[in-house]
Symmetry: C2
Subunit: 454 residues, 2 copies
């Protein structure tokens, strides 16, 4: 990957036209476009036309890798070589109730693999890791790169937000995609995710690509396409990358809302928590430990993760990380120190039967309505509000039985959330004929894991 | 065509997404987008993404008409109802050596139909009517709408440049298309042309859609598609519109360059000039007079045009128009009063044979190189330079015989132009098997002319 000389000048109009007409852009053209845009030498209106052409024409694999690489190298690439352990991260495409990052960072670090995790905030119906962490009083996600590196050395895991130094091209491009209808392109999503993650200085990456009613990719075929794109892009850039296509047709776990999700994270780190969340965390941790080289199979990684939880070391690690990042460690042992909503309201079933489905996007939107998420980027988040599901898909219910509890601070919001939540539950006369698996498939292209059973 | 209430708010992002996904936009959505953009309420970067989506997804006929209508109504629509005669204009999609507008305005006006002609400047390899007019010393194309109306009443024809009052949306959109690779969409071309032309307050319009090596639409199928789109759009807006698909595979006439083209215009108005130019002018004038209601067939219109030329009334009308617009009328009778280049250079044939083709775009570019056209919008134009072709397609040539004369002011430019011009002539051993017709086809959708022979 030799850099194109800066003196080599392309013209934006030619690059736009070439993509518009379905041509394959060269690495030099893509690098030039990304760098010139990041520097401010190409105006937004030319890049937005190019983004729409990419959206509708697509990109070859080599183009996607070149775009990822150019975005990655638009800023700082962390050098964590002074840390002897392998560095492995996990990325999720987002869902409702997905709090696995908060479990995985301390769990995997406690098992001997360093987790340098740079995350985002919630937008739309999905939550964000940073918002969840900030529900812990005092927790600071805004560390400098130097502080991040020190914390990683000391604790083995650290969870921060995007910094100005990392992939500035992605920040600028994402803001433009957001207002020009060019977010949902798998090529652009791949480059955005992979450029930020690979800038973390990691050796390997586990991708959790969600599919179902609560995911951005509703169809499994779309999720698979994106997963393959990301795995191949990572491979082209010399990293071990595995993608798990996992179910997001109902919320993950039972708690949705920032402080409530921290409570559920602590439950899992204590060895409890809802089955689906616990299972997914063990599966992802198994892969992270395997790619991190401390176990020789995913199964061994899962077993080791269970031991680390059982021994209390995973929870200790979480407590240590919280303390290092300025959070109140007492909140880990006494959930009453987490923000709590003032009022509760229940949603009950109007009939006997079985939960046939829970429309996750509606549940996520109900949480946003309560104030627990953002409709616009500039909105602030109320960490205390949320929803606890008492029934999940397949569970039997009786008329009058409570399906969910709403934790709220403002009555009108609660009424709207309740209406949506009621609609999100489908109750059928008989149990669902088949349940969706938690892990739909695993996509791993690098030789060590290709075709491996787990 | 009822206006959408201004209070009805759409969101740019929704309109972009709908077009991106291949949906058909409503008249309300299109009107809102055009008006909000013209007012400055939507940023360039959103509109450029929308333009690229239109480019790649296309538009339904109703959308194209709605876009044309919204652009037309973004500014003033001239009210020429105080002029009793019918108002008819002609528009050409542009070519090399196409000076028909300068012949047609006085010719048709002399025959009793008013021609309110608003034209453009040359860009790329094609010339522009305004640049040609400005080769006449003193000629002023920058009249106000009030001056334009007065001149039309007095003279029956007037030729000016785009004013700020007419179709401001087109000016803004065209500038954005020019830098975002979205010029060549037939839907956007149609809306741009038709919105400006129908804002002239005309009753009917004759379109000259060029096809061949010197045209923007190289393929006849593309030219036909655009012509049908414009004819149907005009019909939907209640105007009589006819499109002639005409040949631009070799330059039109023999002279290319602004002052030289004025000379050739005068030749035609005197009853001479090259056969192809004269023929095309008579054909277009025939249609304009027929649509203008002063003759009952195109054939009668052609005959009347010949009479008006033979009587000298067409040239008198040209002289009157030039004088009314501040030009020196003596230049009409004494071409030495037009700007003349200082030097000449000839291009000769290196072998015996027949002219098989003349690559028009290269001829046009040679004229631009001499300084007779613009590479960029801000370039100024040298009216005196140009090219005279002594041979056209099908003509026999001997080795050493002159093919063309270059009129130039700067030697290095002349050398480059000569090289290109030499390449543009293809000499074959035998005459071309078939010659391309001047008029490829006529597209007329309104009942009075549908299927009419001419």
């Amino acid at each position: 990957m030799s850099a194109t000389p800066a003196s080599h000048a392309f013209r934006a109009i030619d690059v736009i036209r070439k993509k518009r007409d379905g041509g394959e852009l060269s690495r030099g053209e893509i690098e030039w476009l990304v760098n010139a845009y990041t520097r401010g030498d190409i105006p937004d209106y030319q890049v937005s036309a190019w983004l729409m052409a990419v959206f509708l024409r697509g990109m070859a694999r080599a183009e996607t890798a070149a775009l990822t690489d150019a975005m990655l190298r638009s800023g700082e690439v962390l050098d964590l070589s002074s840390i002897a352990q392998r560095k492995v991260d996990k990325h999720s495409t987002g869902g409702v109730g997905d709090k696995t990052s908060l479990v995985l960072a301390p769990l995997v670090a406690a098992a001997g693999v360093t987790v340098p995790m740079i995350s985002g905030r919630g937008l739309g119906h999905t939550g964000g890791t940073l918002d969840k962490l900030e529900a812990i009083p005092g927790f600071n996600v805004n560390l400098s790169v130097a502080q991040f590196r020190r914390a990683l050395k000391k604790c083995g895991c650290c969870m921060i937000g995007q910094t100005a130094e990392i992939a500035p091209a992605d920040r600028k491009l994402y803001a433009l995609r957001d207002v020009t209808g060019t977010v949902e392109s798998p090529y652009l999503i791949c480059a955005s995710i992979m450029s930020k993650k690979l800038a973390e200085g990691i050796d390997a990456l586990v991708l959790d690509v969600k599919t179902g009613s609560g995911a951005f990719m509703k169809k499994e075929s779309e999720a698979t396409f994106l997963a393959e794109l990301m795995v191949e892009t990572g491979e082209r850039m010399g990293k071990k990358v595995v993608a798990l296509i996992t179910d997001m047709d109902q919320p993950l776990g039972c708690m949705i809302g920032n402080a409530l999700e921290v409570v559920e994270v602590i439950d899992v780190l204590r060895g409890g928590g809802p089955r689906d969340l616990r299972e997914l965390c063990l599966e992802l941790a198994g892969w992270m430990l395997h790619l991190g080289g401390v176990v020789d199979s995913v199964a061994a990684g899962k077993k080791k993760s269970e031991e680390v939880i059982a021994s209390g070391r995973a929870l200790d690690k979480f407590r240590q990380m919280v303390e290092l990042q300025g959070g109140d460690p007492r909140a880990i042992d006494d959930p009453r120190k987490l923000p709590r909503a003032r009022h509760e309201l229940v949603v009950w079933s109007s009939k006997n039967g079985y939960v046939a489905s829970i429309q996750s996007e509606q549940v996520g939107t109900a949480c946003v309505i309560l104030g627990g998420g953002r409709e616009r980027k500039e909105d602030s988040v109320d960490p205390s509000v949320g929803i606890v599901l008492h029934k999940k898909v397949g569970d039997a219910v009786s008329a009058g039985e409570v399906l969910a509890t709403i934790y709220y601070n403002e009555k009108p919001r609660a009424a709207r959330a309740r209406e949506l939540l009621t609609k999100s539950f489908q109750i059928a006369d008989s149990p669902p004929a088949e349940t969706r698996p938690l892990i739909h498939k695993v996509i791993a292209s690098y030789p060590a894991t290709r075709g491996e059973k787990n």
